[in-house]
């Protein structure tokens, strides 16, 4: 049995339903690789759940936030008393913001109790020489100067930098400025105003805060573009799975080279 696997006849169809434990159109070659390749469980369920809830919240926040800055055309459905279009847009924005904030706190909690990969987006290992070398390698890979990418179980160093600045820093910025703006509506003397109001007073005119929050949205939007492109590209061109990893949690590898 083992000898058979060691010398596979590439491309040759076998009668899978009788001779192979694998189903479908598995070839002898497939059977050979399947025994070699393994996967690593990288993203635990809470991390994956957070990723998709966060993605949905961010999309909602960007769409509704855009409308809050530039409202949709006026609608005449009913008397103003019975019509709440802009109110619902704002409600969706605030609700998504709350969900994103709670999720972010949950994610921070999971960084403490989850596996080591759950901590990767919250820090940059600036003191590790190997990390810097890998950045250089990764930059060359993206500049088409490196023919073979490296294998990564968690984020590659460039991705880690992007996660740290766009997500950890960017989302903190959006949550803090967002709540400072929300505090205006909640009103003085409330807990939210006591926590976030001083930021608004420090900035002076909250119109400035609106502008900063707006620019922050574009910061996140640019991240979303790069993130989706890089994930799809890596999925196709790199040596490990990307998109499915955020669904199943397992990182699978396309070859069995040790590095």
């Amino acid at each position: 049995m083992n000898e058979e696997l060691a010398t596979p006849n590439a491309g040759q169809r076998v009668d899978v339903y009788s001779s192979s434990p694998l189903t479908g159109d598995a070839t002898e070659a497939d059977r050979a690789t399947v025994t070699r390749r393994t996967s690593v469980y990288v993203y635990e369920a809470p991390v994956r759940l957070w990723h998709w809830i966060n993605a949905a919240a961010i999309l909602t926040l960007m769409a509704t936030g855009w409308f809050i800055g530039s409202p949709p055309p006026s609608m005449q459905i009913a008397e103003a008393t019975h019509q709440f279009v802009f109110g619902y847009i704002r409600f969706a924005h605030f609700a998504a913001g709350m969900i994103m904030t709670v999720g972010f706190f949950g994610r921070i909690y999971w960084a403490f109790v989850g596996n080591s990969h759950a901590r990767q987006m919250f820090y940059l290992p600036l003191h590790k020489k190997k990390w810097w070398r890998e950045i250089w390698h990764e930059m060359k890979w993206y500049a088409f100067l490196e023919s073979k990418p490296k294998k990564y179980v968690g984020h590659n160093p460039l991705a880690q930098i992007a996660m740290f600045f766009f997500m950890t820093v960017g989302m903190t910025f959006m949550i803090v400025t967002g709540f400072a703006l929300y505090a205006e509506g909640v009103g003085q003397g409330t807990v939210i105003d006591a926590i976030f109001g001083p930021l608004r007073d420090w900035i002076g005119n909250s119109q400035v805060l609106h502008t900063l929050h707006h620019l922050g949205m574009w910061f996140i939007a640019i991240f979303v573009m790069i993130h989706i492109y890089a994930a799809v590209r890596e999925d196709i061109m790199s040596r490990q799975s990307m998109v499915s990893t955020m669904i199943s949690g397992h990182r699978t590898f396309k070859d069995d080279a040790p590095e």
């Binding site: 409202p71 109110g87 007073d201 002076g204 707006h214 574009w218 939007a221």
Partner: protein, 375 residues
């Protein structure tokens, strides 16, 4: 020397009480009590406070007030003298002893400056300094000269012995138009020049008349500053945004906006948000107290709020934009245009990178198949 000190001590008791002055002006006791009720109502106090106000006015000496003018347009004074509840006349003649105000006083020149020095000496530590406008600090303050000296010197001199300072208007509170970028004279709000006195900011360009007189009335009645918010503004007038009490708010929540000046929606009185109304970012009492004896306020007359009582309101781009223009990019662009341009550049980069990636991998595939064939 000893005699002089004694004179200073008796100076305060020599000032007439509010009640004395009012009676001297021929105001009856009945009218006086009416006035006390009105004042209580204006400050949002219950009927039980009426006798307290009456008692205070009968027994307390009038508070001396020095009103100085820096870089400003006098719109604060113009607003103040139009106060209806209480009447500015009552405030100036009955409630305070306005000992120096170069706009309202009869004296001029050396006489006026002498009155200022007199008041500072006589009521050391007991007078209120009201500042309209602000001092420019560039060129040693030479951009604003009062009585032959830079205004900043007069301000520091008068502030030294003041009990408290009122910053009238956006100029004194935040800097206003003369402090707008690039602020060539370095016009500086009062609280950044005087740091050792309690300062109460009454911003607005100008502040609402009733807010101005209301603040003074409160300070005299209770002998303390009203409750201030974190920025130092009286919470009772600046505790909420114009947006929070705007009568057009239902149209905002409904999503019914004025789309262009003089369109059908403007005639219907819809929300002015899209026309750049700054009500959602402006803390003031316009939508409740209103102006000119409660007749109207900007939004009611069909124009958005320009946010005149907010810090640096001249530097927030056009009055008619909701999304502020950013001038850091040379030409005027707002956050959305800047963001969209950045996203466009990144998107283009991604498309290019994707194309090159596809080409490269296609090339690699051909090479490997060629090398296989060769092998």
């Amino acid at each position: 020397m000893i005699r002089q000190k004694g004179m200073e001590e008796t100076a305060l008791s020599q000032i007439e009480t509010f009640y004395d002055v009012m009676r001297r002006q021929g105001i009856t006791r009945r009218s006086f009590m009416k006035y006390c009720s009105l004042t209580a109502a204006a400050l949002g106090l219950g009927p039980s406070f009426v006798p307290k106000i009456a008692h205070a006015m009968e027994t307390k000496p009038r508070t001396p007030v020095i009103w100085v003018h820096g870089l400003e347009c006098t719109c604060c004074s113009e607003s103040f003298i139009r106060s209806a509840h209480p009447l500015a006349k009552d405030v100036v003649l009955s409630m305070i002893s306005l000992d120096y105000d170069d706009t309202l006083m009869a004296a001029a020149g050396h006489q006026a400056e002498a009155a200022l020095e007199d008041t500072i000496k006589k009521y050391k530590g007991n007078y209120i300094l009201a500042v309209e406008g602000n001092p420019p600090l560039n060129e040693d303050g030479m951009f604003c000269i009062v009585g032959g000296k830079p205004f900043v010197e007069q301000l520091r001199h008068a502030a030294k012995d003041a009990k408290a300072i009122i910053s009238w208007g956006a100029c004194a509170s935040y800097g206003c138009v003369q402090a707008a970028k690039p602020n060539p004279t370095r016009a500086t709000p009062v609280h950044k020049v005087i740091t050792d006195k309690p300062i109460i900011k009454v911003p607005g360009c100008p502040p609402i008349a009733e807010v101005m007189t209301g603040v003074i009335t409160y300070m005299l009645t209770f002998d303390r500053l009203p409750e201030l918010d974190r920025q130092g503004r009286p919470a009772m007038f600046y505790g909420q945004r114009i947006h929070d009490k705007c009568y057009r708010r239902p149209h905002f929540d409904a999503g019914q906006f004025v789309e262009a000046w003089d369109d059908e929606n403007a005639r219907k009185g819809y929300c002015l948000y899209k026309m750049g109304c700054k009500g959602p970012t402006t803390y003031n009492a316009c939508s409740t107290v209103r102006w000119n004896e409660g007749t109207s306020f900007p939004i009611q007359s069909g124009h958005g709020c320009i946010g005149c009582s907010e810090d640096g309101f001249w530097d927030q781009g056009s009055f008619y934009n909701r999304v502020t223009d950013l001038t850091q990019f040379g030409v005027e662009k707002n956050a959305d245009q800047v963001g969209l341009a950045a996203a466009g550049v990144v998107g283009g980069g991604i498309a290019l990178h994707a194309a090159v990636s596809a080409l490269k991998s296609a090339q690699k595939k051909t090479q490997t198949s060629v090398s296989k064939e060769e092998a």
